[in-house]
Amino acid sequence: MRSIHVEEITQVIQEMCVETNYYLDPHIKKAFYQSVKREESPLGKEILTSLIENADIAANYQIPICQDTGMVVVFCEIGQEVHFTGGYLEKAIHKGVRQGYAEGYLRKSVVSDPILRKNTQDNTPAVIHYQIIPGDQVHITLSPKGFGSENMSNIYMLAPSEGIAGIKKVVIQTVEKAGANACPPMIVGVGLGGTFEKAAILSKKALLRSVGTKSSLPHIAALEEELLNTINQLGIGPQGLGGITTALGVHIETYPTHIAGLPVAINMSCHVTRHAKRTL
C-alpha cells in the first residue's frame, strides 16, 4: 500500500489549471504554423497568424489564452494499491480548482444550478471521472473546457446497419452545424461504442490526445484521416470566415458495444483545447 497525501493532489490540480490556461499546447501551435502555409483564404491566414501572436502574448504576459477559462474536467486514474491520507480526495480536487482559478486570475464560469444559475464564484465544482487501475500510481489529467465549442457537441444512437457511412454523416453534420461557434480551427473528439454515457466520456477523452496523434487501431486511424480531410473541404475555415483550415484533428476513441447499438458521441473543441497530465 502506498500513501499519498491529498494536499499533493490539490497542488497538481492548481498548477494544471493555471498552466493550461496560459500556455498553448505546443502541438496546437505547431499545427497553426503548418496551417498558415496551407491556408488558401488570405483572411484565414491572418486569423491563424493572430492566433499564434495571441498564444505568445498569453504566455509572455500571463493572460489566459481565451477569456473562457472553462469548466474543469478531471480524469483520475487511481492505482488500487494507493491509499489517500489527509482528507477526502474529491474535496482536494475542488480545492485545487478553487486555488488555481483565484491565484491564476482565471474566469469563474460555473453556476451552481442549471436553472437558478447563480455563479459559485470559484469555478467549482469540477467534473470528475474516476478509474481504478492496477499498481500504486495516480495519473491525473485535467482539461478546462470552454462552452462555445462544448455547446456544439452531440450524441447519436445509430443502428449498427448505419455503419461507417452513418458515423461519417453525423460527424460531418455536427461540424457543419457548429461552424464558427466552435471557434475553428477545431479539434473533433469522437466516442464510438459503449453505452450512451460511455460514448460521451470517450469523446471527451479523445480530446485529451495531442493533436496530430493517430489511433493505434488501423481502421480507426483511417477513419480519423478521412474525416479530417472531408471536414477541411467544407469551406468553414478559421473562425468560420471561409477557408480550408476547419479542423486541426479528428480523434476517435472506441469501446465494445451492444449487438443492437452504435453510439456515436461528438465532443467539439476549439483551437485552444487545453489539457495537462501529471503522475504521482
Partner: protein, 189 residues
C-alpha cells in the same frame, strides 16, 4: 488594408463598410453577454430607464477574465453571439447600432440589422490575450452583481474586427464558406 473606424458610430459611417472588411475600431464600446441582455430586455419591457443609453452605441459580447493588479482587463475575446439573438431585435429598436461577437446570427437578427441599418462585427474567438492589449480602459458601470457578466464601458484602440453582417444584410457566415467549399455532401433534398 484595414479600415479605421472611430466611435460614436453613425449610419453615415456604416454606409462605407462592406461584409468582409477588416476594421480597426477606436473609441468607447460597452460589454454585455447573456445575463446582462436578459436584464436589459426585461427593463425595456417594463419601461424602466436603462443603465446605459443604447443609441448609436456598440455592444461587445464579452465577459473578461479578472485583471491582474497591473492590467486594464484580463483576457477579453468575444463569446458566441447566437445566444443573444432572442434579445437583439429589441435592442436594435432602441437605437443600438453595432455588435461585436463571433458566429452566425439568426435570420431574424440578420433582417433586423438590415432594417435598422446597423452592423455586426466578428472578433477572433479565442484571441482574448491579443484583444486585451487593444483595450485601454475598462470600467464596470452596471449590473455589478453579475461579475464577469456585468456591463463594462471599454475604451479600445485599433481593436481588430471584421464586418460580418453589413447594412445591406450581407452575411459573411452565409457567403464565405461557399468560396472554399470543395464538396457538397448530404444535399438537403
Amino acid at each position: 488594408m484595414p479600415v479605421y473606424l472611430e466611435t460614436p458610430l453613425t449610419k453615415e459611417k456604416l454606409k462605407t463598410l462592406q461584409v468582409g472588411d477588416q476594421v480597426l475600431l477606436s473609441g468607447t464600446i460597452y460589454t454585455a453577454r447573456d445575463a446582462a441582455h436578459k436584464r436589459l430586455v426585461t427593463q425595456i419591457k417594463n419601461k424602466e430607464t436603462l443603465p446605459i443609453s443604447l443609441t448609436n452605441e456598440i455592444i461587445y459580447y464579452m465577459g473578461p477574465s479578472p485583471a491582474r493588479p497591473n492590467q486594464v482587463i484580463g483576457s477579453a475575446g468575444p463569446t458566441t453571439s447566437y445566444r443573444m439573438d432572442a434579445y437583439t431585435p429589441l435592442l436594435l429598436e432602441q437605437g443600438l447600432l453595432g455588435m461585436i461577437g463571433k458566429g452566425k446570427r439568426s435570420e431574424a437578427v440578420r433582417m433586423s440589422i438590415q432594417k435598422h441599418q446597423s452592423i455586426y462585427f466578428a472578433a477572433i474567438g479565442g484571441a482574448g490575450a491579443l484583444l486585451s492589449h487593444r483595450i485601454k480602459s475598462a470600467e464596470m458601470i452596471a449590473y455589478k452583481d453579475l461579475a464577469t457578466e456585468a456591463i463594462r464601458k471599454l475604451v479600445v484602440e485599433d481593436f481588430p474586427i471584421i464586418v460580418a453582417i453589413d447594412i445591406k444584410g450581407n452575411d459573411i457566415y452565409r457567403d464565405s464558406k461557399k468560396k472554399y467549399r470543395k464538396l457538397e455532401l448530404f444535399s438537403k433534398k
